[in-house]
């Protein structure tokens, strides 16, 4: 800045005025300064500005290390020659980072941050030294969006002393953090109302995921409360219990079909699955066993993953507007930053029920 000032024959404060379009500067002087700036390629130091302004214009986003299904996202070593490979099967690949949950959170967060005039720094909390580096990040941002479960409580509490922290997804946090979550129960409720009200189904069965999981509990609760409101029987515990994987869906489906074939139990009219993967497992087995979907049994999922659109029959599901999660989280942060005295918020982004063929629509 001194160099610019010298070259333009003015003082540093005049340069500052020009750069920030503050105060009064004679047109001629401004032109001179601007010329010097472009000639020298001067870009003001963000660090120095941040120091005096007590504001960095940066927001941080902390993501966990893996995709929702626990997919390892590690990249292999860099390759050098053009490879020629026989790609024989669909394999596990194809689940790109961004199509997954957190990529969408990022997309929404970046969008909102840009709108609010902030840049967004993203940090995936990977093992070595995750803690130290997150603390470091906290020192360079004005606020932090953290995906629930990513950081230990102690660290969270520590950094919250310095910058506002908004938690995303997961359960409502214990401490005094802002929180933005997805609406698991309400989505299932609307879905169940549709199955019962529109398609006239009455024998619904919930296919749960790993026990104790927050999302799973909420979804089951939504199922129960909807059932209760509609006068249907309400199970105390899910009869079908998997672990969110497609494979577990297949196992459950085999069990359901076997029970039916052996006369032990009637086929339910609808299988309301805790997530899309589980539902896809059901579709796999049901179609293989000749049970028709949706004619013999309706199947629904939850999440709105891509495969739910491309399978056959296409899967009716509850879509989570994950990008909106990130967007709202940043919005809350923004509000917090604008007025720190604001009370803590706990927002819920509404989900969307996508009616497709697997529930009998069309």
């Amino acid at each position: 800045m001194r160099d610019v000032a010298g070259r333009a024959g003015v003082s540093v404060s005049t340069v500052s005025r020009v750069v920030n379009a503050h105060g009064y500067v004679k047109a001629g002087t401004r032109a001179l300064v601007e010329k010097a700036i472009t000639e020298l390629g001067f870009v003001p130091s963000g660090a120095a500005r941040g120091l005096v302004a007590r504001r960095t214009g940066l927001l941080g986003l902390c993501l966990p290390d893996m995709g929702p299904a626990g997919v390892q996202q590690a990249l292999g070593p860099l390759r050098t020659p053009v490879e020629l490979v026989e790609d024989s099967g669909p394999g596990p690949g194809g689940a790109t980072w961004g199509s997954l949950y957190f990529g969408e959170v990022l997309r929404g967060a970046e969008y909102a941050a840009w709108e609010a005039d902030y840049a967004l720094a993203v940090a995936v909390a990977r093992p070595p030294q995750a803690e130290a580096r997150v603390r470091d990040l906290a020192g360079r941002v004005d606020g932090l969006v953290v995906v629930a479960g990513t950081l230990p409580d102690a660290l969270l509490e520590h950094v919250a002393h310095r910058v506002p922290v908004v938690l995303v997804a997961g359960p409502r946090p214990a401490g005094g953090y802002d929180h933005v979550g997805v609406d698991n129960g309400e989505g299932i409720r609307v879905l169940v109302e549709h199955l019962v009200g529109v398609h006239g189904l009455r024998d619904l069965r919930f296919a749960a995921g790993r026990p104790g999981t927050r999302d799973d509990i909420d979804r089951f609760r939504g199922f129960c409360s909807a059932s209760r409101a509609l006068g249907l029987p309400v199970p105390a515990e899910p009869v079908l219990r998997g672990d969110f994987t497609r494979d577990s869906g297949r196992r459950l489906a085999e069990q359901v079909v076997a029970d039916h074939r052996s006369g032990r139990a009637r086929l339910p009219e609808a299988l309301v699955c805790t997530n899309d993967e589980t539902a896809l497992g059901f579709l796999d087995v049901l179609s293989a066993e000749g049970v028709r979907v949706p004619d013999d049994v309706a199947v629904t999922g939850f999440d709105g993953i891509d495969a739910a659109r491309t399978c056959s029959p296409r899967l009716t599901t509850v879509e989570q507007p994950v990008a909106d999660l990130g967007r709202l989280a940043v919005g809350v942060l923004e509000a917090c930053l604008a007025d720190p005295r604001l009370p803590r918020q706990d927002l819920v982004v509404p989900s969307r029920v996508l009616l497709r063929e697997s529930c009998g629509t069309h």
Copy 2:
């Protein structure tokens, strides 16, 4: 920091020593300071540190505003109640941000940045004030990765005065920037060698995209040079010319089929398409018209998009390791930062030819 020092009964220098694990500090003193730090929730100011260290520990990534196919990525207004919508067709949706080109670049860049002990700030250069904000970002980072075509040359040159800039994708830049690009020609070359060498095809036809496009030109050149090397006829211009869209692929396919049916021209033995979308358009029409792929004609794509794995027959294609692009770009930046006197680099990430059924493999 003064507060911490006061509470621990030491000077700020000692606090600094404890925080940075520098110099000598008596164990007892250190404990005292650490206690004060956690009690006060002290997090050192990144701005102040950056000021003295002349290093922010932040890298920036500039992304363009839209997906590769020009898909608008704008998010709609926030919704509030749970919606119930009939999702009747595949539609244009489903192309999530991250599964697209730039999300993958981001993923690779973030990974490399983390490995090199940097955080990554991402900025999508959206209209209003994109320039001012990018300049601002340049002031807070140690280096910048910019996707080619995202920023005007003047701005690029300006910020390059302050931080090293690495360009990603696009043509090799004119100025003295580092550059990391994809290997369009080489991928096609290997693919053509495979078609000719392994499958014994000799009548190959290139289906090009919009004329003048850098990628398209490079791919056509690769096609030509491979043909030449193999003693096949080399067209001066592509006979088939679309615009990268699936629809244009369909139109070209209709033309090819019509020419064949009318006896005007023989069916080529292979259609080497400039991208996957075009190839998918070919598959659509050929299968509808009863032309068998790969028996009557082989079809290949370029890009490695998801749909190329899920279509039928699955599409042989040249996969661009886009995440590696971001990874390499950050790697170059890192090297530049470690030793600024290094010469400019122009790296190329190798592509991968994925052999699937549409070319006759299996």
